[in-house]
Amino acid sequence: MEILIILLPLALALGGLFVWAFWWAVGKGQYDDLETPGQRILLEDNQRTVQHKKD
């Protein structure tokens, strides 16, 4: 049972870390738009530049 002395704080610290991370992410607006960023990443790199028309 002595192992609890290490495991418990470890578990609590890990849990706390995730809660903190979630809190931080929500506060930063990471959850404000769930649709667009997921779609945006699908765009191919080579489509990211416009083939400028020669004037």
């Binding site: 849990g15 929500v26 506060g27 667009t36 083939q51």
Partner: protein, 783 residues
Amino acid sequence: MSTCVHCDEAATYPYFQTEDVAKLRPFCCVGCMTVFQVLHSKGLSAYYDIKNNRPSFKRRSPVENKKQEYTFLDGQDFQKEYVQHYAEGRRSMDFYLEGIHCLACLWLIEKLPEFVEGVVNSKLDLERSCATITVSENGLFSKAAIELNELGYRPHPMRDRAESSAMALEEERSSLKRIGIAGAAAGNIMIYAIAIYAGAPAEVAVFFNALTVAFAVPVLTFSAWPFYQSAYTSLRNRRLSIDFPISVALILGGVMGILNLRHGQHENYFDSLCALVFLLLLSRYFLRKIQENGLRPGDMSFLHQSETVVKKNSSGEFTEAHIRSLVAGDIVRISPDEFFPADGIILEGSSRVNLSLLTGESSPVKLETGDAIYSGTQNLDGDIIVRTTLCGSESRLGSILRQVETGWASRSRISDFSANAGTFFTIAVTLLSLILFFLRYPTDGFEGALIQAITLLIVTCPCALALSVPLTFHRSLSLAAKNGIIIKNEVALEKLNSAENIFFDKTGTLTVGHPQVENFECLRSDGATVEDAVYSLELKSRHPVAVALKEFLRPRHVRLLEVSAREEIPGHGIKGMIDGNMYEINRDGVFRNCSLVATFHVRDLPRPESTKVLRELMNNHYKVSVLSGDCQENVDRLATDLRLGPSFTTRALLRPEEKVSAIPRNHSVMIGDGANDSLAMQQASVGIAVSGSMEVSLRAADIYLVQPGIEGVAQVMTLAKETMKVIHRNLVLSVLYNITSVGLVFSGHIHPLVAAIIMPVSSLTVLLSSFWGTKQLRTLWKS
């Protein structure tokens, strides 16, 4: 059949881009073709590669192209309200964009800085169809707006970061935080609770118990706050909502847990309570999300009426302005097809005006110089100049809107069902706890009896019901949304279920809302030539009859013929020379060289599905009637057309107030589209606005049909019936579970471990029942 290259709509009578025959592509309309050409000329053809390789997630419609200058966007006064400022003189404005539907749109919009001068950043929120455009110090918003318009996304400026939207965002974030905390705590508590149940040694158990209390405190305070709040407000309004027993259970559970910890006992209900808080918050969050999704401006047709007016400025020129800048006394020019932005008097010109949305009258009215016009009516065929007399909320439309808004605020939006269920549960549970307390007091003493009474309160908390109701509604609402039925409030479903009388508006609801051709009859053998001639002659006319004729003839593969000496005679008809013959079209028919060659009738015809939908409703024992503002003759004609028999009642010539008095407050449904229906929609227990309704009707309605037509009405009635069936079934399950647990408590068998098993099991049963639905719901889900 070919589909439009740009919008993927069926191009039944395709337009072709004719410049390069080798690359012939079909388009459904000129608008889509124009956008295609614009994209090509700008080197943005990759749009189509992206579009064709990715599924789109919204249905889109053909592009309606309308040139606009958007100069008002650059005005100082306008920017004061709409613009946000950043460092180095950068400014940003939010636009709602029409027609956003897929990844390619995202690609295109975010490319904006690369081909529009002055734009430094452009970011699109696909879900909200909202783009944030940032321009440099010297950049012009009008340039970006013109470009967006050209690309087929008509932009509507949105007031940036208005206080309300910032608050909504803050609320959304804090509810996410509440859910997160509850979820994390519930998960962690489970670990220690299981250890305790499994028989952890006493010294460890005490420590674990303390830990569960530590986890539960933020959940029972921070996360559960909305329950306390809503219980408090409903108590203040002398009502018992379902949140009240939940709050009582949570508070008592918390107090008991802490007391037990002090006494060294490790019995508490924190594992069950935290899990329930988590699930309850989650289900309510989902329900709210689906409601918000439905209310997004993208699904509201009112935005599609332009917000731009052409106004005479101080130097006497006509320039574009935003509709909000209009004040009484302004001179505005109204083009055909536009809606009047304010009440006023015609200074110059004459035109036919469509009053149907304001009065229900189906035939267009001819107005001349000096006549009064009202906002919310639509100009049909001539350019006119108007001096405004009453603007904004003072106009006739504005005053209806005001009445609707006050009525809406005072109207009860509380679900009768969950309120009743809450009352029932609370009273029953309180009584049972008191009985239990007095039963046990003689044997177990004060504290023992109290703890048992509290235990009863906790285990009978109607959480299962509170969980299943929002989830069932969530499912039905998202199903409805998928079928183009936007339900603003789940209470509407409940009220639909108890509806007995259904009232329909006539013009625009049961009928199409604009004149259509019936019985076009050619009296000569060369019918095709006559049709071609009629089409060619009417091609440029905006007269309602001409529009109806063109709409009727276009699907018949008409050819365009050369017309000379074309002349439109106001109030009479149109004539012109085609192939050496003099054609004339007037109210009596089509004439060639003064002899009658074809006859036709034009009137506002009923929608093709009207009879079917009404008959279905009548077969389901609803009383169906029509309330119309139109004249008796037209209403009688509709009744004859629909062939529904004597039980179908109609009333004509009703003013908006008379419609209201014709509708009972309870068990009634009103379906309509115009401003003249809006008060009636609000009076009825449920108001349904059909597609193409005015803003004011949309505000008054509880349900909005996105797809044209009234088929949604029958669907939503079925949906309401089936949804309430599921909810009632869940109520029965919930009561059964509670009877069991009350029995267990009275017989002294209850223990936190039993609760930890029974509570999730009961929630799971009702959840499964919600997802299982009914046979009819399952077929609806599948389709």
